[in-house]
Symmetry: C2
Subunit: 372 residues, 2 copies
């Protein structure tokens, strides 16, 4: 194998019982995507529909297609618009039309080259074409690399809410080329770092400490390649561990929602688009950190360490001015509400969280008043 | 359990490793749907979106809703148009809108009350709402009872072809109420009988003989209830056996396509809507029966027995006037083509078939000339 694929790549297994796969970090990157697909068991000669958006296809589309051709695949490129506004069934229909034009068969493949929106839409299009064909994720944003591309959640938005339409459809391979982050806007890089910090808080105190030790966390251009790869590796490991033990979000996977419940409130009430998802999660983590202090679940010191790290990463920490009753109303409409009670992922220390179903409206009101 | 559910129901297990379920035939029928759902493990108090079309909802909608309410469920009824023309992503969006309005949660349920189109669309809507919620099939046409409702194939049409968009999504329960066949148009009943005959040829010679012994096969109103239930039971058993051993159509399940390859040609070249699906399959079985005689795979006598039974069921047997080259072209565009070779399910006797990938264009031409 070593002559076949660059040996420097990090390989994180996602150990699912039905169809395990690997998250590959580094190595030859997009230049080696063809070889990696062959290694993952995809057959020479099959048709591949690569879906991307203009900003990503422009620098990386040709590189990717050339690598696929060199390894004997028959690729076609589809460029679509991929803002959050386009994450709808209409875009999925465009991908299906391209799949039809390219005469994809059951043994064919779709490849998502881009950020979370491209990954979610392409994954869902693959899940629903010919009752499910294979998909490979090539994430090009930090958020997609550490979160969206791993774990098989695919889908699009419904006018009534984000990601209401979707399917679980695991990829055959996730290939992360860290060099694509060079073309990522800095604000998006920082937003992705919020999810990395999340992994530290929910289960990896060593990762948290690693991040605490990096001074240039808010300026990605200054971040050393080795440190970046280490961060990607620890994050992929964290996500992989949770997904492997709970593929379809029956239990443990809920801890990945740490910071997301309050974050969802911020996204909803401040208007989608004002805050990036990761920024809203950053604010949400600070908020639920405060809730945890109030509940005496963790110490003020831990909450402060979290807040400092989030601030150092160049992320927002201040809770916006919001009517507490509107916040409560929004929380109750959230998917995470179980049997009418408020459900939160509460930290008990750096590297440990618990899922709590017993958070009262009164506690939320008190927390919000502390935050404002 | 016996005090809880009518003991007269036939129960056919579909023995899937991940989520086995039952096909329940008879018993209290739709009047007992609530009890059957409870028996299948669905929890009291959950929301249920019942999807149906006007022709079916008018006689059976209230019955079904009342039974659900009596068993503690919270049902809503959505009536949609459900012709083959409506089997599109647009109709799925209507079901999703209703799911949103009804505030369905991950533990909620969709119920398909109707024929194959309602079942396929509702199953797909359930597969893709909140990344997959439970679905129960209540088929009201013979075709849906013996085929479409069992096995988890769901989906809608793409402008480029039937069922190109879809997902595998097994139901939690299939409940067959044979009394709903009383309101089914006779032509549709006969079309469903084509699939029943198919089960006889591909794997159940006793079923075939049973059908041969029924004189009133083409007049459903004359068919004795016990015979009808026997037919439904043998068909469900046949489908269940194949699905259990090959949930995702990797191998054995292909034998269910018996008669469908030529049938697909008839549907495509004669225009969808001229022939019902079952009628096209009937013509297709006669045609592939002839191909099998030419290949000396089965006897002229077997082919004649099949043709006689199909004719007795009031189904068409004559191959339409079609340009043989157009037929070949259509065959090659079919999903069932593997590596450019023509693939057919060929009978080797009443109750036995083989999947053959080596059928030549010349053999097809000869067969078509024999048929015309």
């Amino acid at each position: 194998m070593s002559a076949f694929v660059n040996i420097d790549a990090q390989r994180i297994p996602v150990a699912l019982s039905h169809q395990p796969y690997e998250v590959v970090i580094g190595g030859e990157g997009l230049r080696g995507v063809g070889k990696e697909l062959r290694r993952a068991g995809l057959k020479e000669g099959i048709k591949v529909l690569v879906v991307s958006n203009a900003d990503v296809a422009e620098p990386y589309g040709d590189l990717c297609l050339q690598s696929l051709k060199e390894s004997g695949f028959r690729p076609t490129l589809l460029v679509i618009e991929a803002g959050e506004d386009q994450k709808t069934p209409v875009s999925v229909a465009l991908i299906h039309d391209a799949a039809y034009e390219a005469k994809l068969e059951r043994g064919s493949l779709m490849v998502a080259l881009g950020g979370g929106v491209v990954g979610d839409m392409t994954g869902f299009a693959a899940a629903t074409w010919l009752r499910g064909i294979s998909v490979v994720q090539l994430p090009t944003t930090l958020l997609a690399m550490v979160d969206a591309a791993i774990g098989g959640k695919t889908g699009v938005n419904h006018p009534g809410g984000k990601n209401l339409i979707g399917a679980f459809h695991q990829p055959r391979l996730v290939l992360i080329d860290p060099s694509t982050l060079k073309t990522l806007p800095e604000r998006e890089f920082r937003a992705g770092m919020a999810e990395v910090i999340k992994y530290g808080v929910i289960g990896d105190s060593a990762l948290f400490q690693l991040l605490e030790g990096i001074q240039e966390l808010d300026t990605p251009s200054q971040l050393h390649q080795d440190l970046l790869e280490k961060i990607l590796e620890r994050s992929a490991l964290a996500k992989s561990r949770v997904v492997s033990s709970d593929e379809r979000e029956g239990g443990l996977r809920a801890i990945l929602n740490y910071g997301h419940t309050f974050g969802h409130v911020v996204e909803t009430l401040c208007g989608y688009g004002n805050w990036l998802h990761g920024e809203a999660v950053a604010i949400g983590m600070v908020a639920v950190g405060e809730l945890a202090v109030l509940r005496q679940s963790w110490s003020r010191d831990d909450a402060n360490r979290q807040k400092s790290l989030i601030a150092k990463a160049g992320l927002p920490i201040a809770w916006p001015k919001l009517d507490p009753e509107e916040v409560l109303y929004t929380l109750q409409g959230d998917k995470k509400v179980k049997d009418g009670k408020l459900r939160f992922v509460i930290p008990t220390g750096i590297g440990n969280v618990e899922i709590k179903n017993d958070v009262s409206r009164e506690e939320i009101r008190k927390c919000l008043s502390e935050l404002s």
